[in-house]
Symmetry: C2
Subunit: 303 residues, 2 copies
């Protein structure tokens, strides 16, 4: 099968959508204009770093590649709109992998009503690379950035963290609906998704907002996977919850008044207040003591 | 340098642009809404297939990665708007390669006023991969597709083809201005850029339009590189012009009346009429004889 045959096959898989003026098979796709700002995110996943193809298969890779991008749209409280997909397939992998990947990408995209409108498929002697660029729209309330946190804000997370490497990292649950529900209910000051790690991603908010935060150790929701992983690693479950990453929950800050409203009548399940913003620094309050917290998490290192 | 430091560096390189509401450093970029359809294209380049990094260096790779995407916007007669960039760098390459790539990407983008608004930078044990997703806008005359060619149309190309592997393939000249000038002057029925090869890309137009074409051998503009390469390959220069690809010239079809107008007062330099559309088939007229022409060109093969 050559690339053109594959594109023909892809075209048959894609239902028509009134927002898609031109779909796969031309030099560009075209989307209908919108009155709202266009959100754009791109994430590129590689074999051996973000997944192990031989262990998980193409379908799981496709799902993850789409889901991590959907999570970035959630992290701006946006509504996903359409996606394009780039792939580099190992030459010996064949059409089966291309199709499995596409099925996984499409299955995850369809959960959120997102058409795949174009792409680029290549082969090489190297390992699998999957790139997704996802488009979304800001809601009428606007996109929520990382930069709006203020001292005194309460800090929340949408669910338990840690130990995602035991399998959850392959099946992220993008918090699109949760972000939209929160955005309608309260004024979100700052928002991010947990990809690098709870502490590292919170630190991105602090860095952009120019303030600090103190987390309460006992308040941080620890996933059962973090407890399980701690048995093997010898580290504390809290360490895994703060540092593992790829949880794809949302961290956000709101005024104390909005925080109280969320605690009284949470618009989404799983919300936990984990601390508050302060003037500067990143701190962990544990057993009555405040100590510095390292913003550790997954960071791609260059030499 | 970690990824976050690199993103900070990238942010300092990017001038502010009124269309860019949110640039690099958040979970998504955001572009101001537009009343025109949004064009989207994505192309992914890999070391050893699209370039040889050790021979050409990061800057040339960056330029090519941006240029081939710009060429796809030209191939819809659109105006480029903004780009996002994904990279997978070899772990041993270091920051120099990341910066060289970015300089090349930005230099090419700036030639067409295109801001780089976001991206994703990763490292791995494999070879370099660069992915660009480019956005554009259709003009008020609409996007030109591959599917509008009709029997009787005249077929044009914007410049000489063949032998791009001698070096031109690394420095494509995206025909953005040429496409816009043509689109203003005549009614373009079908349009594509020459990436796979003159015959192969013309065949994409024929396939989408449901018609055929007869090219005139003597009318096809042959690049000096094709003549040079023919000395080494033993093939005819015309064979290189028809099959080599990566010329990034534009092929288009217009009515005979519009074709005559173009010949009388060409709005861009380098235009050549190379044949006409017929009911079916792909043919080459040479020395008074019509024979079938294979739509050969560069095709990524899967097993």
């Amino acid at each position: 099968m050559d690339e053109f045959d594959y594109i023909r096959w892809v075209r048959r898989q894609i239902p028509s959508d009134p927002r898609v003026l031109i779909g796969p098979g031309d030099d560009c796709a075209a989307l209908a204009p919108s009155v709202r700002p266009l959100l754009i995110t791109t994430d590129l996943l590689t074999d051996g770093v973000d997944f192990v193809l031989n262990e998980v298969g193409g379908r799981a890779v496709g799902r993850k590649a789409m889901a991590v991008n959907l999570s970035d749209i959630a992290a701006m409280a946006g509504e996903p709109l359409a996606a394009v997909v780039g792939m580099v397939l190992p030459t010996d992998a064949g059409r089966t992998l291309a199709e499995e990947l596409f099925h996984g990408l499409r299955a995850e995209a369809e959960r959120f009503g997102v058409p795949i409108v174009g792409g680029d498929t290549n082969t090489w002697a190297g390992q699998l690379v999957v790139s997704v660029t996802l488009f979304g729209e800001a809601t009428v309330r606007g996109a929520v950035r990382r930069s709006g946190a203020k001292p005194g804000d309460w800090i929340f997370v949408t669910g338990p963290c840690g130990g995602s490497i035991l399998g959850r990292h392959l099946a992220p649950q993008p918090r699109i609906r949760e972000a939209l529900a929160l955005h309608e209910t309260v004024e979100l000051h700052a928002l991010i998704d947990v990809s690098d790690g709870l502490a590292a991603d919170l630190n991105h908010i602090l860095d952009e907002s120019g303030c600090g935060a103190a987390l309460v150790a006992e308040a941080i929701p620890i996933h059962a996977d973090a407890v399980e992983l701690a048995k093997r690693s010898g580290k504390a479950p809290l360490t895994h919850a703060l540092g593992d990453g790829e949880d794809f929950e949302l961290i956000f800050t709101v005024s104390a008044a909005d925080g109280e409203r969320l605690l009284k009548a949470p618009p989404v399940a799983g919300l936990a207040k984990i601390g508050a913003c302060v003037e500067r620094g990143l701190w962990l309050d544990e057993a009555g003591e405040r100590r510095p917290l390292a913003p550790t998490g997954w960071v791609h290192q260059m030499e």
